[in-house]
């Protein structure tokens, strides 16, 4: 794995079930994440995904790719266009930097409205774990 490498995209259908299941699994009972009528009263045409679910999906995207031994060190995300039912979010990632066994990946999750999420993930991938990282500048993938 080298700086500049692209991760294969992950397509996530944004269903009402995913939004509600994610909100409840994260213990987030804000009405805008499960009640369409109250969401409308707050200016949104429908319910929308909570940030904790987005965070969980971004984490999953990275560990799905780097394997179960990969360790998330940092996940920093910013939300933009909301994830609403019926949409599809496509997560893409680009390795920005590799430092020893640690990679920084820039991620984008785009839906029909624009970028739902942008951010960076720092992940440690111990040698021999799943998708290896290059051992140094210009080194071969292991």
């Amino acid at each position: 794995m080298n700086a500049g490498d692209r991760l294969p995209p992950l397509e996530i259908p944004i269903t009402r079930t995913l939004i509600v299941a994610g909100a409840i699994a994260s213990r987030d009972y804000q009405d805008v994440h499960h009640d369409p009528e109250l969401a409308r009263q707050k200016g949104s045409p429908d319910i929308f995904m909570n940030i904790l679910t987005t965070n969980g999906l971004v984490g999953r995207y990275i560990t799905d790719h780097f394997g179960p031994r990969a360790q998330l060190r940092r996940v920093a995300i910013r939300l933009g266009a909301p994830n609403r039912p019926g949409d599809t979010m496509v997560l893409t990632g680009t390795v920005e930097e590799v430092d020893g066994d640690t990679a920084t990946v820039r991620i984008v999750g785009a839906n029909g409205l624009g970028d739902h999420v942008t951010g960076t993930v720092t992940v440690r991938v111990p040698a021999g774990a799943g998708e290896g990282l290059s051992t140094g500048a210009g080194g071969d993938s292991v």
Binding site: I12, L18, A21, G22, I24, A25, S26, R27, D28, Y29, Q30, V32, R40, Q41, K42, G43, N50, I51, L52, T53, N55, G56, L57, V58, G59, R60, T63, D64, P68, R69, Q71, L72, R73, R74, V75, A76, I77, R78, L79
Partner: protein, 304 residues
Amino acid sequence: MSGEPEVHEEFEARLKAYEGLPAAATGVGRDPVNEPMIRHWCEAMGDTSPAYTGPDAIAPPTMLQAWTMAGLTRRPERTAAYDELLALLDASGHDAVVATDCAQEYLRPLRPGDAITFDSVIESVSGRKTTKLGAGYFVTTRTDVRAGGELAGIHRFRILKYAPAHRPSAPAERRPRPVVNRDNAGFWEGVARHELLIQRCTACDTLRFPWLPGCNTCGSPDWDTVAASGEGTVYSYVVMHHPPFPAFEPPYAVGLIELAEGVRIVSNVVGVPYDKVRIGMPVRLEFQRYDDELVLPVFQGVTS
């Protein structure tokens, strides 16, 4: 809140005073880190990583915040300072909330059985920002999450407290009806003919508005009327933001208009943005129809 910058500054100074204060003090996770909540999380996320199951399971690191959530229960750990800050924003019309940023650092993995405690501080409150959702303020908190007393993760969270720019249009409410009585009926008859009638005392020639049964200068009950030319200036004004009233869409400017004849009338200033209305601005009378029954005199702002 008003459109005046100095008012924003004063309000922002009040908000800024909360920076550095605790937002949550010694919160205790409602549940220790546990397998059922991990499994429910993984089901929702579609996360099948073997790292989160079995005897050596860890919790998905991105669950960090979930262990601090109050769910449907009260939040005893939340401080009065944080409640006050949110209440200030609510009361100023910024009653909607959306999370915008989350940055988490994971220092050590959480495992089933770990008891969670956390402390949170209000890191910053932004100035007023205009966003697609509406104008509002960003509030950033930093939460240190501990497992068995040991720092396990740092969770930085930013919310936007905003006044929704696109509230759904309520069912159209009709403007309140004027109260018409013996003393002011002539005024409303004039409005119906698109005339703004000022009373004039026939004993001392003093003009008066609004309509009254007698002259405040000489006491005479006798009067006739003069039709206003329609020219005037903004003598004073307020901008209504909050609270909203049925049939009135905030923000809007309410003007005290001084007519060329010298009397003053309260009315809406229309045709110019609410935040462009100024004292001394020339205005011109118009009659605006609000529904099949109601016509009101309003004043069109004349911008140079």
